[in-house]
Amino acid sequence: MRPPRLRMALRVWQRHARVFLKLWRHALPGPLIDPLLFLLALGFGLGSYVGDVQGGSYPEFLAPALCACAAMWAASFETTYVLFWRMHEGRVHDNVLTTPVEVEDIVLGELLWAGTRACLHGTSFLLVIAALGYVDSRFALLLPPFLFLGGLTFAGVGMAFTMFVRTMDSLAAFFTLVLNPMFLFGGVFYPTEMLPGWAQPIAWLAPTQHLVGIARALTSGAHVETIASDAVWLTVSTMLLAVVPLLVLRRRLVL
């Protein structure tokens, strides 16, 4: 294993960005509708039965968390279905590897691109909730880089899974067994302190509650100092997760 080189990784990133710029009109609105549906159905619908949560209305509690979820979904989709397609169907990487770009550069490029998509989707939804009046603090302007960071972490989770998957059908298991639990138990709909004591450490191990915590703090302006520990958590876990594709991708692409 050689260390990845940023310059080479950026060329992989540029290829994806080029494709995205051609398709963004189709690629961006869809993923924004998902969190909006949750905000409408649960924030406003269910929210009318729920009292204040952490000192604000339920939609105020839910909206920034869905911003984090938009980033989570984007990075996860990019590093599962899209990455699997690039590896095995589109054979994009097979060609890249005949150039001076190496497997390690591809790993970094894919992570950075997934982080970028996460940041784009999360920030787009941030604009939506700002327009709806759910952003109370100028600290929210600092959120996009953290959406990128959280996106990297989710990309690490997705990539680690995709490395061991042989068929595209098996990727559905990722969404059922990994992503949905992180979404439902990661502090999006209720504070993780509501979980039973034994479940709280498990929730802590998922990136969701950390990115959700950052999104809540920065959009509300409350407890902003707590983002430091969450950001450290996301950074460290991204670095640990990235080791998996760095070790495995070569074997999956090169025989």
């Binding site: 060329r11 540029q14 290829r15 080029r18 494709v19 051609k22 398709l23 589109g90 054979r91 994009v92 097979d94 060609n95 890249v96 590897l97 005949t98 150039t99 001076p100 770009v101 190496e102 090169v254 025989l255």
Partner: protein
């Protein structure tokens, strides 16, 4: 230019390439000739560092491929057997992106892409996705893509496999123009006509071993055969398509 010494490769204990030695001299065209499963493609993959070498070594431009794969790949072009053009990009963008992988800056990449499109006779098709090109055009695009870094050596894995005779001619004439410019070719083929037309020398492979090598005409004379098909049958006791 390429020197392979006692190269061995096995998959799951089954030898694919067995004690293979060959050399490609500057400007020369060497054809690896043999039936499916002879180890030709594996040899090409080892030459560009895509597959590890179990024993022996391959040096390209004096650099050991196993130790310096990046340096080697920066200076060669690879045309794969399976078409792996980027179907999310246009024909021109396929070349642009490849040029960026090779480190050309934006302007140089654009100029190079246009130049290559013209030389592959695809100038009018630059804005179409590869899926809209004919089989022969896509193959020419694959060759053009391998040329972005102006390599002096190109590896080609079955460059005209599956093409109709007319499309095959257009790919051959493109490769002949490269040879005329002094670009060395290392190609695999199981078409005798292709070997006779494009190769200065052929290396006949069977079950991972080199069983004969030399200029096509020289081999025919040595074994008293009328054509390379007959020669192959004579050497291996098996037909090429077997």
């Amino acid at each position: 230019m390429v020197i392979a010494r006692s190269v061995c490769k096995a998959y799951n204990g089954r030898p694919i390439v067995d004690d293979l030695e060959f050399a490609v001299r500057p400007g020369e065209s060497l054809g690896l000739l043999g039936p499916n499963g002879a180890g030709k493609s594996t040899t090409l993959k080892m030459t560009c560092g895509l597959t590890s070498i179990d024993r022996g070594s391959i040096a390209v431009f004096g650099d050991d491929v196993a130790r310096m794969p990046r340096a080697v790949r920066a200076r060669i072009g690879v045309v794969p057997q399976e078409e792996n053009l980027d179907c999310d990009l246009t024909t021109r963008e396929n070349l642009l992106v490849q040029a960026r992988y090779h480190g050309l800056d934006r302007f140089a990449a654009r100029a190079r892409a246009d130049e290559l499109l013209a030389s592959a006779h695809l100038g009018a098709r630059g804005d179409e996705p590869p899926a809209q090109l004919s089989g022969g055009m896509r193959r020419r695009l694959l060759v053009a893509r391998a040329l972005v870094a102006s390599p002096s050596l190109i590896l080609l894995d079955e460059p005209t496999n599956g093409l109709d005779p007319q499309a095959r001619q257009t790919v051959w004439s493109m490769l002949e123009r490269l040879r005329a410019r002094g670009v060395a070719l290392l190609l695999t083929t199981h078409y005798m006509e292709e070997a006779a037309r494009l190769c200065d020398r052929v290396l006949v492979m069977d079950r991972g071993r080199a069983i004969e090598q030399g200029a096509p005409s020289e081999l025919l004379a040595r074994h008293e055969q009328a054509d390379l098909d007959g020669l192959f049958l004579h050497l291996t006791g098996a037909a090429l398509d077997a």
